[in-house]
Amino acid sequence: MKEVTIIGRGGQGGKSAAAILAEAALENGHYIQSFSEYGAERQGAPVYAFCRIDEKPIRIHSSVTNPDVVAVIDPTLTAALPVTKGLSDEGILIVNTLETPQQIRDKLNFTKGKVFTVDATGISIDCFGRNIPNSPMLGAIEKAASLVTLEVLKNKISDKFLHKLGQEVVDKNVQAIERAFNEVKEG
């Protein structure tokens, strides 16, 4: 089983990103589970969202404490929260930041696993004209962890948004995912 934790702030779409990832994995023939940690919900408060992907039915209903992948949507949260907590030696950390993976490693004193960085905020502003970094983060997660495929992820975005928001929004999201997929840096 692969377990993914997405850490963002209320309103940044972490919960939706975890759900889309789960739906894409289901489309890909996997068993899935996705949920968030609910507290006093408000814009800007830290939110943990989770996604589990497995080859067999997922029965566990407790929280994710040892994720295989952690994605931090909001760059300020690396300083505010223990984002690498529970991450294994082979764990993957993906951060939305202008900094390099090495800078993040130094900052978090994180020597193991793999670290990826991507300017999801910049890509989001380029593609949507505003800061909605969850779509590009999905592209970065896919590049870093290969949980589904880029194709399935893009199809899922299209399925979800085409009817409600139209082709233009789908295209922008697909573009954001592709850019993040190509631009994410490993170190």
Binding site: A19, L26, S34, F35, R59, I60, H61, S62, T65
Partner: protein, 388 residues
Amino acid sequence: MKAKALSGAESVANAMRQIDPDVVPAYPITPQTDIMHAYAKFVADGVVSGELIRVESEHSAMSAAVGAGMAGARVMTATSANGLALMWEIVYIASSLRLPMCMAVVNRALSAPINIHCDHSDSMGCRDTGWMQMYAENNQESYENMIFGMKYAEKAKLPFMMCLDGFITSHGIEPVTLFEDEKVKAFLGEHKQDYPLLDVDNPTTVGPLDLFDYYFEHKRKQSEGMFLAKGIFLEVAKDFEATFGSKIDIFEKYHTDDADTVIVAMSSTCGTAKEVVDKLRVEGRKIGLLKLRLFRPFPSYELKEVLKGKKVIAVLDRCESFGAFGGPLFSEIRSALYEVSKPKICNYIYGLGGREIDMAMIESIFDEIEKYTTADIKDFVKYLGVRE
């Protein structure tokens, strides 16, 4: 059909869409609200034909449900926690009128202090109200129990509560396979209410004054009705399996047959417990899980049979029963076993207000109760995962 990624709330709403009840009176409360969000969208999109009545409180929601049901309508609603508490007066009236209806209860802790997360104190507070109750482990069960429950209620002429864990299942997304709309329609058939108020040619009085001369007899009959509902459960379950190919059981035995020690639990915790059972079985430990699905009518005879001869049993209650000897599930199971082999039995109160219950905690219960196969139980009622 292909599985869809749905939250528990969406799964329940989809069951409601397929059942398409005549009347749904509802009032929002977290975490139930997601059910009515999804159902209200079906109403707005015109994919269902029933009437959604937006009332001013849960007391009114249940009152409108009783009124519509007595008029002859097929009725559904949903609530949580304090909403159910506010309904309570009319909840008791619905069952006393032998009125079938199906209500989803998204289990949430009761105030005070205010807490929106899961425990079972809301529906357990209704255990003596004369409603039938099932508890769902996951989203698929939540969906299937709703469809089953609607028919069960109408066959047994009693109201039915379908309980699912707040946030854990109600807001968690899982793969859910929906049945075909037409099959659900055919399974349920037309609802025919006994003595409907709208049958003006045969006028009846509902809920009149009934003092010491006959009230007791009416309650005795109501009690017998609930007792007979156990047999009806099995009949409807057979019909359900024949129609949909899916099994609805009083309980699920998970490696209990050859187990010496068994945990009895309900709802989403059972999924986590199954993982623990698998893990410990690999180590050769003779342990098992009994997942209770039907809580009312309480299957005391069936539980007695399945738990007979076990060495130690731990009952998990996600609910406190203040001043009682253990939680409600513990009391009932211990009482059911009194006449038979009297296995050692203890109680763990856990997860109040959404407190985490994980594999390590469940494993610690098995570690502890395995010791009781030879040692004496010191504390019969324990609190798991709380700061003392």
